[in-house]
């Protein structure tokens, strides 16, 4: 009996001290963590919004799609961005950020969260500039915050009324990348979710 009490007490004490330490770090890092998360979101929003954007505010969500309004320095709303998601990705959930002009044309598309296969599916999701080691060493490298991606850029400047895969001229189509068809379909699905939400907001 005494033995059990001693074991229980010692493990309880370890848990208590550990819990207290965690609570302390949690309180201390709570502010910075929220700032970091907010900064990550704002940084990616700025990439799909016009360069004049000075601030962004969260707008209402429609059908599970979050909208963000972009204001210029005079406070006028000049564009908006939407986060669409799809569960059709090769690795499941995928989140896509879409910038929209006031007349609902697509300004830019970028994938913020995905789980696609490196080198295959990521061809459809990653905007990655290839910098050369030798250029960096020579000091010639330039920073490109929004590198091109042929598939994601094929949505740009087209009205957000829904897209489909294919090469025929019927309706709005985008061309999938071979070897990354599933990932392309997931991006398309997420963009179409945004298009449907845009349609719903216009209908109101």
């Amino acid at each position: 009996m005494k033995e059990i009490l001693r074991l229980t007490l010692s493990i309880g004490l370890v848990c208590l001290i550990g819990g207290a330490a965690l609570a302390y770090v949690n309180v201390k890092t709570d502010g910075p963590r929220q700032e970091a998360a907010a900064k990550t979101l704002v940084d990616s929003l700025k990439l799909v919004l016009p360069p004049e954007t000075a601030s962004t505010t969260k707008a209402a969500s429609v059908d599970g799609v979050d909208f963000y309004d972009a204001q210029d320095s005079a406070g006028r709303t000049i564009a908006r961005a939407a986060v669409g998601s799809s569960s059709l990705g090769f690795g499941g959930e995928m989140k896509v950020l879409v910038g929209l002009s006031p007349d609902n044309r697509i300004l830019g598309v970028m994938v913020t969260e995905h789980n696609e296969t490196p080198g295959l599916g990521t061809k459809a999701t990653n905007r990655k500039a290839q910098k050369s080691l030798w250029d960096v060493l020579a000091g010639k490298a330039t920073e490109d915050a929004f590198p091109p991606n042929a598939y994601l850029d094929s949505f740009t400047d087209r009205p957000a009324t829904g897209f489909s895969l294919g090469s025929d001229s019927q309706g709005q189509t985008v061309q999938a990348i071979s070897g990354a068809t599933t990932s392309c379909k997931a991006v398309l699905d997420a963009v179409n979710a945004v298009c449907r939400a845009v349609h719903t907001t216009e209908g109101r």
Partner: protein, 219 residues
């Protein structure tokens, strides 16, 4: 053993990945690029040093019968602290890539292995240095694997192109590539040791990983 030797053994003689064969799961998962490997290695090093030192401090207080649960709690506390610190201060991209691997450090066998085999028998400073050496050894092995895999797959190092126009060899970036490259690394390690033994005129014997190195069962 001197303090320096406690530190150094983790990097070469008892390298956790290449000699002790501990922590294979994160090794295979996170060595797909040199950058990921570096981040994971440093996070693991922090947990190892912290947990080793605390476990060494409480080694005489905690009763033997419940020592493993106590160690796990201490390790889990350090991992959660690392997770929170990374969410707050690490670059967003690193945080996103490593996010899913950080909780896995709790069950990384290197951390519990060193707690059991070293920290529970040695002093605080020696345990801290052991953790530091093992952590750096893990980081270096992971980075070497990651660099080779990244280079073979995409012709890049730390995401910077080394050879323009490299034909992508994506197998190396996927899990099978990890097994293949690790196999060559271990073969190379054995070759070095066999040569060294021959130079010294001795017969090569594989590293002794026997009961004298571990006390999980014989208390």
């Amino acid at each position: 053993m001197s303090y320096f030797q406690e530190f150094w053994k983790g990097i070469w003689k008892e390298n956790p990945v290449l000699v002790l064969m501990l922590g294979m799961c994160p090794t295979l998962a996170v060595s797909s690029s040199a950058k990921n490997a570096l981040g994971m290695g440093l996070a693991t090093t922090f947990v190892l040093v912290g947990s080793n030192m605390v476990i060494s401090m409480v080694r005489k207080v905690v009763p033997d019968k419940v020592r493993i649960p106590c160690y796990i709690v201490i390790i889990a506390v350090f991992v959660t602290i690392v997770e929170m610190l990374m969410a707050a201060y690490a670059p967003a991209e690193l945080n996103r890539t490593l996010g899913i691997y950080i909780p896995l450090i709790v069950v990384n066998c290197i951390v519990l292995g060193r707690a059991e085999a070293f920290a529970s028998k040695n002093g605080v400073i020696a345990s801290g240095l052991d953790g530091l050496g093992m952590g750096f050894g893990f980081t270096l092995a992971l980075m070497a694997l990651g660099a080779v895999r990244e280079f073979l797959a995409e012709g890049t190092l730390f995401e910077l192109q080394v050879i323009p126009g490299w034909e992508p060899f994506m197998l190396m970036k996927l899990p099978p590539g990890a097994f293949i490259v690790l196999g060559f690394f271990l073969a190379g390690m054995n070759l070095l040791k066999i040569r060294q033994a021959r130079r010294e005129g001795k017969k090569y014997t594989p590293p002794e990983i026997d009961c004298s190195r571990c006390n999980i069962c014989n208390r």
